[in-house]
């Protein structure tokens, strides 16, 4: 396969920067000529996938567009119409597919999302507050000077600082950030368990085309992509979702059920997700968290479910088993390989220590992003079939405990065994722990595509 041209791909696609702070600016694009000038001036600052051999920058900048944004830029009609249907419709219109209804419905979203006003996402990640503010100021000035864009909103996000240290925890107390897939051609440390499972039991990276347009994918073809090639290649799609977390409700539920559950509260929390709250995979250590495993890159994503068909170690409906079933459905991972997503994002809102009171209506949650070559086949599929439904896991209509959008309670069965220390346990009356507050579908263009967009030279024929 062809070697990746890292300078042509936006850095945000190729790596999670691991910076503790971010501000996602949401832009309305104005007159096309002014916007082109804005893009043109912005281009030199966009962070590419080039390796940071001279040390990390203080801040990074990346940009992505909704279909409305591309339309505002006056890309030619044949190009605009060649984008996949779900991207054309936008996330709000896909609510039926995603179960973004009732409490997750657009009437509860922040106004910029509810009214579908966002044309572009400008993602700024930074090592410290000063760098973040400085960079965002520069963006603001650039937008004003060129008259090409207006900042209509933003989302601050930050790693949770616990005991003075940046952590990888999110607000329910779980260490997060595991499980991103491994793709052919990506230069990063390969961890066993990230990619696909081969018949001989070893792991191999996924085809590049599962993330990047213009490369062969797992189905043995080039992924469906917009025209022209130069607009699509080295680009990808992103879903952005602002996911509010009802931290108080979660803590109460965990406390209450944790008192009933023979294994105790922490083990119950581990069974919900499939990882102990320190990140140890339950599959590798079912009885206790194990920092040695949790911190070991060779181990912490290196497991399969094939030997755990009963779910006695990791419950069949546990969050990570739902979102990446690995070999749980048989046929190695062949039914899963085309359903993987690359996650980015950070929590938002202040950290609330476990022993302090907390309210659901305080602004806390995750600014969630997922990247994939196909929104419909990858993100939407996982959301619709594996989170909001359970037939593939043979769980009928049961939804994911953490993310499920339930109207009247719900059940989560923790499978067990007859050992006496790991009994079956059913959790009922599950409230909604997470609520959607907005988001949309974005296209992250390559540097070449950005140049073409900024010079008005996108030509589909």
């Amino acid at each position: 396969m062809s070697k990746l041209n890292e300078t042509d791909i936006q850095g945000f696609v190729l790596r999670g920067y691991n910076f503790p702070l971010a501000r996602y600016l949401f832009l309305e694009l104005l007159e096309p000529e002014a916007t082109q000038a804005f893009l043109d001036a912005l281009l030199p600052s966009i962070t590419t996938g080039q390796h940071w051999d001279q040390g990390k920058p203080d801040a990074t900048i990346n940009i992505a567009f909704t279909h409305k944004g591309l339309t505002q830029l006056r890309l030619p009609e044949p190009s605009l119409l060649s984008f996949p249907v779900e991207f054309l419709q936008g996330m709000k219109a896909r609510g039926g597919v995603l179960s973004d209804t009732d409490r997750n419905g657009p009437e509860h979203w922040d106004e910029i999302w509810r009214d579908e006003r966002v044309h572009a996402w400008l993602g700024v990640n930074a090592q410290c507050e000063e760098a973040l503010d400085k960079c965002c100021d520069e963006m603001r000035q650039l937008a004003q000077r060129t008259g090409g864009a207006k900042i209509i909103g933003w989302q601050d996000a930050n790693a949770l600082k616990i005991d003075g240290q940046w952590s990888s925890k999110e607000h329910f107390g779980y260490s997060d950030g595991f499980g991103n897939p491994d793709y052919i051609g990506f230069r990063r440390t390969h961890q066993p368990g990230q990619g696909k499972l081969l018949p001989d039991g070893t792991w191999a990276p996924l085809a590049t085309g599962e993330l990047l347009l213009g490369y062969a994918d797992e189905a043995g073809e080039l992924p469906v992509a917009p025209i022209p090639h130069l607009l699509a290649n080295n680009g990808t799609f992103m879903v952005y979702r602002k996911m509010h977390q009802n931290v108080n409700t979660f803590r109460q539920y965990l406390e209450a059920k944790g008192r009933q559950y023979p294994g105790g509260k922490e083990k119950l929390a581990a069974k919900f997700v499939g990882r102990w709250r320190d990140g140890t995979p339950v599959e590798l250590s079912p009885d206790r968290p194990d920092p040695a495993i949790a911190n070991d890159k060779e181990s912490n994503v290196n497991f399969t479910f094939g030997e755990d068909q009963t779910g006695a170690r990791c419950p069949i409906g546990a969050h990570i088993r739902r979102t990446n079933p690995r070999d749980a459905f048989g046929f190695e991972t062949r039914l899963i390989n085309r359903r993987r997503i690359t996650r980015r994002g950070l929590p938002y809102g202040p950290y609330a220590p476990e022993d302090q009171p907390v309210r659901d209506d305080e602004e806390r949650g995750i600014a969630f992003m997922a990247l994939s070559a196909s929104l419909a086949r990858q993100f939407e599929f996982v959301q619709q079939q594996w989170i909001e439904y359970g037939n593939d896991s043979k769980l009928g209509n049961e939804k994911d405990l953490l993310l499920g959008n339930r109207q009247n309670g719900g059940r989560f069965m923790i499978q067990g065994d007859e050992s006496g220390t790991n009994p079956p346990f059913m959790c009922g009356g599950i409230p909604n722990f997470v609520e959607l507050r907005g988001g949309d579908y974005f296209f992250i263009p390559s540097m070449t595509a950005l140049k073409m967009m900024s010079t008005g030279t996108v030509d589909p024929r």
């Binding site: 009933q260 209509n397 049961e398 339930r406 009247n408 309670g409 719900g410 059940r411 069965m413 346990f425 059913m426 959790c427 009922g428 009356g429």
Partner: protein, 216 residues
């Protein structure tokens, strides 16, 4: 036997549709209108012929041209396709159709060539058999349970799930009492109606509150 898998029979019928150029509305279109408005839930005629697991009726207009270098060709007539998966043998099923849903059968098959009506069941059965084509390869995931057994099993599963949820944390004698009540409720519960999708509904009414996440 290719039409059969275990205790389930796979019937495929192709009945030629009357082609009358003088009819104000062609027979195939009339058929589509009738089929389009036929109830599909517990009021469905096929819920009455309750040995039916699943069935479909559709008008097959023509064969399909797949493109060069394949040749283009056409059927002289259109066919009504009836694909059914049911318990028991063919004769019994066809006779039940004639006996239990004669109006539906008439309404549908009166648009087909050579249809003799249901007044004479023997003639009807003979006609349907003439329309039958042999299933070459038949797959049934569950081929040893009747419709009734399946509906009761779904009702049971729903009740057990609700029971387990309701009694999490209940022990000893109260648990055993509750279980005995569950079993007697299940025995008394009316058989679920085919086509309704409400296998749990009857038991809920009998057992009282507690069931969650069952309904849409």
């Amino acid at each position: 036997m290719p039409n059969q898998s275990g205790s389930v029979y796979g019937l495929t019928l192709l009945s030629p549709i009357i082609g009358d150029p003088h009819a104000p509305v062609s027979h195939d279109l009339q058929l589509r209108l009738i089929l389009g408005s036929m109830p599909r839930d517990h009021e469905s005629p096929f819920a009455k012929v309750d040995s039916t697991h699943m069935c479909r009726l559709t008008v097959m207009n023509d064969v399909i041209y797949v493109g060069m270098p394949a040749c283009e060709e056409h059927l002289q007539l259109q066919y009504l396709v009836f694909e059914s998966n049911f318990d028991g043998d063919l004769e019994t099923y066809l006779r039940r159709m004639a006996q239990q849903i004669p109006e539906t059968v008439d309404a549908v098959w009166s648009h087909c060539l050579g249809y003799p009506g249901v007044i004479n069941p023997d003639a009807f059965v003979a006609y349907m058999k003439k329309c039958q084509v042999t299933t070459t390869f038949y797959f049934a995931d569950v081929n040893d349970k009747t419709v009734g057994q399946t509906l009761t099993a779904l009702q049971t599963q729903s009740a057990v799930g609700a029971f387990v949820e309701r009694n999490a944390g209940v022990h000893g004698a109260p648990l055993q009492q509750a279980f005995l009540k569950l079993m007697s409720d299940l025995r008394e519960a009316p058989a679920p109606q085919p086509g309704s999708g409400r296998e749990d509904a009857n038991l809920c009414a009998v057992a009282g509150a507690g069931a969650s996440s069952i309904h849409e």
